[in-house]
Point group: C3
Chain length 157, copies 3
């Protein structure tokens, strides 16, 4: 009889445990991002390619935030970031850009900005229109292809 | 003369043939998606990374549809899907999300949802605001980088 | 004394040089896109996957421009381009598409267009609705996964 009562008590506890857990909903778990090998470092920095293909100022600002977050996450010496713009996204890189000051600041932090020569030609803009420090390639989209093949990680934020 | 008539008839046929073909337009061909090696399976599931970076409810719903379509295509045991949100996309993962029920349902089907700690900090939201079962990392964008390096396939739907 | 004056002159020049450069702001530098190995060619063309998942006509037109720019950059024989549409992006591929003529023209240039069977089923459209020459797969998103695994370079323009 004693043994039976013990089993009954154990069963009761087992039944009640989930209820108690349910009354106190689990907090979202923080997950540490697992760094893949080879680990990023000064000699082997992560190489990350971000794309701007929108003219929406809010979206462009969000994309630029990602560059900042990546430098914060990896440490500025352990990551190389290139932002490639093309199509409507080119508005971000001209001297009359709504985000000119942010881009000038990010350039100082070593972030690379590349414009698209094809887009400039089609829209009758000149390389002189680009913010100082911004470079350009013939075709932004081809630059994204070739860098991916070279091991850069592509993200369209 | 006989030969000339034969040539004329042949020419006429050659001229009419394309017209006949045109009258009965070709139906679009169904193409079977070719599975790459190694084939996906329980022991070696496809690992797919979807991104939510928009607050647009219609777009978010479309992204979630892709998760469902991927499970349907591969079979639920042969694919692991992680949905990483950051920036404006974080609205999808909070308890007041317009798609809360869908996400709760997808969580039950084993789809992983990860929020961005940086975005939560910037927008003064707490991990307690996240839908139960949703986890978070420090930087959503860095998680996407590291998982790509680990072999996950990245798609921004 | 003579030597001192020479040094003074040299110092003065060194001090003035940056000022002179500053007065004439640097023109944005053109950067040649570095082609990764193996070099693209007729026998080993670049394989590039573009995605249409928006119904916005302006955005769709921009995506199609990228296909043209890629052929221009690599040369038509050195690149294979597949455009995969799904979700709202499917509107681009039907006979009543706002960009039907452009797609028919791009098809003639060897660009491949693939629709999504799942989207067609959900939206009650038939393969007969597709522009002639456009094919379709069961799930556009799965096609993008498998082609990436096969070495295609994915870009969402």
């Amino acid at each position: 009889m004693r043994r039976l009562r013990l089993i009954q008590a154990a069963l009761l506890l087992a039944l009640l445990a989930p209820l108690a857990a349910g009354a106190q909903p689990a907090r979202a778990a923080f997950k540490e991002t697992v760094l893949s090998d080879p680990q990023p470092g000064f000699d082997d920095p992560r190489r990350i390619l971000l794309q701007i293909s929108t003219s929406d100022e809010r979206e462009i600002n969000n994309i630029l935030w990602n560059a900042v977050n990546l430098q914060k996450f990896y440490g500025i010496d352990n990551v190389k970031i290139a932002v490639v713009a093309f199509g409507p996204g080119m508005v971000a890189l001209y001297k009359d850009s709504p985000v000119r000051e942010r881009i000038e600041s990010l350039l100082k932090y070593g972030i690379e900005f590349l414009g698209c020569g094809n887009t400039m030609e089609t829209t009758h803009r000149s390389p002189d229109d680009l913010i100082e420090g911004v470079d350009y390639v013939q075709a932004g989209i081809a630059e994204i292809v070739e860098r991916q093949l070279d091991g850069w990680i592509y993200i369209k934020p």
